[in-house]
């Protein structure tokens, strides 16, 4: 465990270098966010006052995106998948095969370190933006739900990471994984609730998504905060989230063990 703590520390120091980049990234990310908010404002202003869309009032809809931004800041897999693919392609992964360290554990430590620094930096522009939009921000549905948002966010982050990790391991088989990463990201963008809250979708599609890991990547923690779920749904959600984390870990280990047999250390 100590060695992973050490990796975490190194990760902190390494990512600190990119703090200005992070700041730009987070600030630029607010532009499309503001665009989406304008769009929703326009939709609501075309309806009679106090109208709601799929049981979302205007402030609830706006808050969905604001809270989503915060959860996304804590969890988004930024560079990790590209770095993993590069490690495999360039053969630097060989050194991990020789050392008494688990590559998944190593990467997870780096991911957590990266998220720590990124969140600290990105929450400055995001926080300012939320303060600017404060008239729309609704508080958490209850204190208990606010507290439960934290473990849900943490599990969502781990699930996002492990899924990205497994995708990046495709680099064992194909030279350029970036297309796969982009396709996976497109699916995730829609199905995780990044574009809009999933419960404004038709019931049939919601039902299908319910059986995939995607809602647990973003929508679940945000939905908890906003009180979109009944208590049984919350507990079921947590159970599903844990289940998907376990499945993703098992899958990642399986892909790794297959990949490592295929691996022939170019340039290593």
């Amino acid at each position: 465990m100590r060695k992973y703590l050490h990796v975490f520390e190194i990760g902190l120091q390494n990512t600190l270098v990119y703090r200005v980049n992070f700041l730009f990234r987070a600030a630029f990310g607010l532009i499309p966010l503001a665009g989406t908010l304008f769009l929703w404002e326009a939709i609501y202003s075309g309806k009679p006052a106090g109208a709601s869309v799929a049981a979302y009032s205007l402030s609830q809809m706006m808050s969905y995106y604001l809270i989503l931004t915060v959860v996304d800041t804590f969890t988004v897999v930024a560079e990790d998948d590209w770095q993993i693919a590069a490690d495999i392609r360039e053969g630097t992964i060989s050194q991990f095969l020789l050392r008494p360290i688990n590559y998944l554990g190593y990467r997870l430590s780096l991911y957590l370190a990266g998220r720590t620094i990124y969140s600290l930096v990105a929450l400055i522009p995001a926080g300012l933006f939320i303060i600017y939009q404060r008239e729309y921000l609704v508080g958490p549905a209850s204190v208990e739900l606010l507290l439960l948002t934290i473990p849900a966010t943490l599990l969502a982050g781990i699930l996002q990471f492990v899924m990205a990790y497994a995708t990046a391991l495709l680099a064992f088989w194909v030279l350029d994984v970036s297309t796969f990463i982009f396709i996976a990201f497109a699916v995730e963008y829609l199905a995780s609730g990044h574009l809009f809250p999933l419960d404004i979708l038709p019931a049939g599609i919601q039902q299908v998504l319910h059986y995939t890991p995607y809602p647990y990547l973003l929508y679940f923690p945000v939905g908890i905060y906003l009180g979109r779920f009944s208590w049984p749904q919350v507990w079921e959600g947590f159970a599903m989230q844990c289940l998907w984390v376990c499945i993703a870990f098992a899958l990642a280990r399986w892909v790794w063990s297959k990949g490592i047999r295929k691996y022939s250390a170019f340039g290593g």
Binding site: Y18, N21, F24, R25, A27, F28, G29, I31, P32, A34, G35, F38, L39, E41, A42, I43, G46, K47, V53, A54, R89, E90, L175, D176, T179, F180, F182, I183, A186, V187, Y189, L190, L195, F196, I200, L201, P202, F266
Partner: protein
Amino acid sequence: MGLVEGDPKILGVWGMRNDQHTGRTRVPGNREGTWDGFWTLLTRYLGIYTVLWRNSVMREMSFKLNFVLWIVAEMMWFALQLCFMNVLYSHTESIAGWSKWEVVLLVGCSHFIQQLFTALFLSNVTELSELIRTGRLDFLLLLPVNARFLISFRKVDLGAFVNAATAVGVIIYALIQLNQVPRIVQVVVFLLLCLVGTFIHYSLVFLLATVSFWTVRAQGIIWGYYNLFNIARLPDTAFRGFYKVVFTFVLPILLVSNVPARWLSEKSGSLASVGLLVVMALACFGMSEAAWRYSLRHYTSASS
């Protein structure tokens, strides 16, 4: 990428240098400025561009699977945008005065322009920071061709043309749903406006790319521009205040696809905005050229 894939940057440059065609038509210095000189110059640059195209075709065809997968990835993102609008319109009749099929038309236009930009410029411009970091820029500056031309046009992304075609399909479908048959003049002007929009994207990204002369890691800033594509496909009337002013008169992203879409679907207020689009395009190009020249004057190579 590395050498395994045959580093496209090196291939591009060497392809140029080794090609006999580039040296064939030299411009006599004393004839510059005359019409004759202009035509010689034009044919020369067209000749160079043809060679660059041929290089790109050869490069793309050597990675066929990747070529197809990129097209699939881009199509998925396009479908995603259409899906987003579809979901929004399942809850409302109109957004800020735009009906569903007008917005689909707008999303199509935006995608068309973005793909034209990707096809012609994107990878070239984003690689500027890489050229500077590795010192390969020196090499390009030494060639007897306008350096900005060479940097901007080195590679052509053929897959993006396929994606631009899917966007045309969506635009036509939206027009059918709107029950509109545009006149020939309208279509021609529309295509010209799309080119102007592409040119705005190019000028702005190039402007951002010149930042890499000053900081080594400007990649993030350039990719930040990707976020701006996202608002280009939203109806301009939804925006208000400071935000609208900035993205109309400073970074005219809200004009890029809204103006052509309005023109094609005969939505009101199109004529004045056409003028504004052209003026802003020229202003953006002027700014990027000024930044480019200024940066080049202060350029000290990375390698030596």
